[in-house]
Amino acid sequence: MPKNALAMPPRSTPLRPRRKALLIGASSGIGAALARRLAQEGYDLALLARRKDLLQRLCEEINTACGEVRAVYYVHDVRDRAAVPALLQRILADLGSLDLVIYNAGVNLPAGPEAYDFEKDLLMTEINYVGALAWLDHAAAIFQQLKSGQIVGISSVAGDRGRAGNPAYTASKAALTCYLEALRNRLSRYGVHVLTVRPGFVATDMLKQAQRPFMVISPEQAAADICKAIRRRRQSIYTPARWGWIMLVIRLIPSFIFRRLRFLA
């Protein structure tokens, strides 16, 4: 964790405004790609993840590329929910303001097509969903109070249907999608923007868990789509966008048919 306050990114002045983003789950995959992309777009970043060495390397890379302090990191496990309020307070104090909060932490731990594993399911729920509540409840409180801000949740196409292959993963993402929609319905009247992102298959560590990946995109492409949606204040996107059509069809399949389609369910 940065101890020396001099290493913080500069604060806004009237003629040199700076946007500040907090990214939870930043060490690899979509998170790391998003961090690089947001830094390019001028954001100052607070990056959070469990793995310190990865975060440190990412910050150094970003700060060197930008030629100034743009990114700082904080080591955090999203299951450590008690630590969230104090850590968020500290990040806000370090950055000086907050414009964007992205919850990207997520794991996929399938137990196997016929097996059940409560420990794994609990872990997935804690990281994919409960951690999001722990962070975004506070982010929502801040933005509601300030009447501005953007919240982004990285959910998944997997949350659109309950799937036999990994019930708890799909349920955690469905819960996240629903929670983000509810936040949006609550916060839009305060001028706060909430974006739900549903990626398909992205070439990250998580792809190893996928059974039959197709239309795989790079994390950089996903990050580009997400940044564009943030700029345009979209409420919900699929990345790549054609997943929107695919999931429209899949959502419309009646359950009694869907459960018989082994290749889909």
């Binding site: 306050a5 104090a86 806000l92 104090a93 506070h138 109070q145």
Partner: protein, 472 residues
């Protein structure tokens, strides 16, 4: 009062120009004990504290993003008033308005006032404000006999020009970074009428403008210039001078009437018709290069015949209160003010260069104001034996970057001319610029005092961070 900063106590605080906002946990203490409690909370939570009065700085002086902000406006009691000697002891949240309205009926006026009367005395002293009489009366700090400073360590120290001198000369103009003024004792100025005698005349160019300020100052109690920053060529630096004088005793035959507060009150309607709170809507359409040129040119033409008239103190001094919420006319991105203080020998050439530059880059200032100044002995001082020029600029998305570059050029021109800057105004001053005009010794001395008064660096503001860094 909830002593624990929660996200629900976050407030989006802004500056006077509505050009910068930052979130902070806002507290409005009413007593020294409450301030001490907040110091304790901040230490425990690892948060910093910024001090704020009325929030009328044009920059980030009263902002402390992500930290605590102590708004001292509720500590606004007048503790002692002696109409015989003109000595007044007050709390830091007392506004200039409260102050003059309290003392005027007894025939006393604040020795130094700001262009708006909504500022607090604590804020004014932390910035060491000056008025249109700076060349004669100096800054506000020169009329303070004593103040009590509450340090973040919990210590309360009484300072005056002879008592704890080093702290006195550092805390006045010290940006609220050494401690909280908890009481201030001020010497008021005796006056014999609620009126000022005002003379106004035009000046055709920058030479005449500065010459009029220099020659006029010794002969008057107040002097201020309006500068048409949209004019170029032979009219570069043209404008109008207003000089005002107190009435000598006996000249006002009914001083008891003109010294009444209601006599001084600014009218609430314009031409007796339009409520002034609506005026900024009518001003907004003129807040572009063409509109500003038209307004400034018209104002100059109207200023051609010299005039002489009586005006109340409130009407002469508080021009910024004349149109309520005038800042709104500048639009969503607000405005910034760039003020440079230049020695009288170099001012003409440096400002000619700045004004020409701003015209050439199509970034003219919509309002320019000039004053005459004298040096003072405070540690972080903006004062020079010379003049100041304050330029208002509208901030827009498309002009922001070009304006920033131009102000960098302005800083370079002003520094080369031996100029100084005022910490309640300029928003883009770099640490290098601050160090250069203040001198490295002055900065080091201030930081040493800060370390002594505030060893945990509890007091911070976005301004202080920008100019001097968060830590040693």
């Amino acid at each position: 009062m909830n002593p624990i900063p929660s996200f629900q106590t976050l407030n989006r605080l802004g500056n006077f120009g509505r050009s910068l906002y930052a979130p902070a946990y806002l507290y409005q203490p009413t007593s020294v004990e409450e301030i001490e409690q907040i110091f304790k909370t901040a230490r425990e939570r690892g948060l910093t504290i910024g001090l704020r009065g009325a929030g009328k700085s044009y920059n980030d002086a009263a902002l402390n993003g992500g930290g605590i902000v102590l708004d001292l406006r509720r500590m606004n009691r007048i503790l002692e008033w002696n109409p015989e000697t003109g000595l007044i002891r007050l709390e830091p949240g007392v506004t200039i308005q409260q102050l003059w309205q309290h003392t005027l009926p007894d025939g006393w006026w604040p020795p130094v006032v700001s262009g708006t009367m909504t500022t607090t005395l604590g804020g004014c002293l932390a910035m060491n404000i000056h008025g249109k009489n700076n060349f004669r009366m100096g800054t506000l700090g020169e009329h303070v006999l004593e103040f009590t400073l509450l340090l973040p360590t919990g210590l309360e120290i009484i300072c005056g020009p002879k008592k704890n001198r080093d702290l006195f000369y550092a805390a006045v103009g010290g940006l609220g970074m050494l401690g909280v003024f908890t009481t201030i004792t001020l010497q008021m100025k005796k006056i014999h009428s609620g009126f000022l005698r005002v003379r106004a005349w035009h000046v055709p160019d920058l030479n005449a403008h500065l010459a009029a300020l220099e020659a006029g100052a010794p002969a008057h109690d107040y002097i201020v210039g309006w500068l048409d920053a949209t004019a170029g060529g032979p009219g570069l630096g043209r404008g109008q001078i207003h000089a005002a004088d107190y009435l000598p005793e006996g000249q006002d035959t009914h001083p008891e009437r003109s010294l009444r507060v209601d006599y001084q009150t600014l009218p609430s309607k314009f031409f007796g018709l339009v409520p002034k709170s609506l005026l900024h809507y009518f001003m907004a359409p003129f807040m572009n290069n063409l509109g500003a040129w038209a307004v400034n040119s018209a104002k100059y033409l109207l200023s051609l015949p010299a005039r002489s008239y009586s005006q109340t103190h409130a009407a002469f001094h508080f021009l910024l209160d004349y149109v309520p919420d005038w800042e709104l006319a500048y639009g969503r991105q607000g405005l910034i003010q760039y003020q440079s203080f230049l020695p009288k020998e170099t001012a003409r050439d440096a400002w000619a260069e700045m004004l020409t530059l701003s015209r050439r880059r199509d970034l003219p200032s919509y309002l320019g104001v000039t004053k005459r100044h004298r040096p003072d002995g405070f540690l972080l001082s903006h004062a020079v034996d010379g003049f100041s020029l304050a330029l208002d600029f509208k901030v827009t998305e498309s002009k922001r970057a070009r304006l920033a570059t131009m102000l960098e050029d302005f800083d370079r021109i002003a520094l080369e001319a031996g100029g100084r800057f005022y910490f309640a105004k300029n928003s883009e001053t770099s640490p290098e610029t601050a160090r250069r005009f203040l001198s490295a010794e002055a900065v080091a001395k201030f930081k040493a005092l800060k370390k002594r008064c505030d060893p945990h660096h509890l007091l911070q503001s976005d301004l202080y961070r920008r100019l001097f860094g968060e830590q040693e």
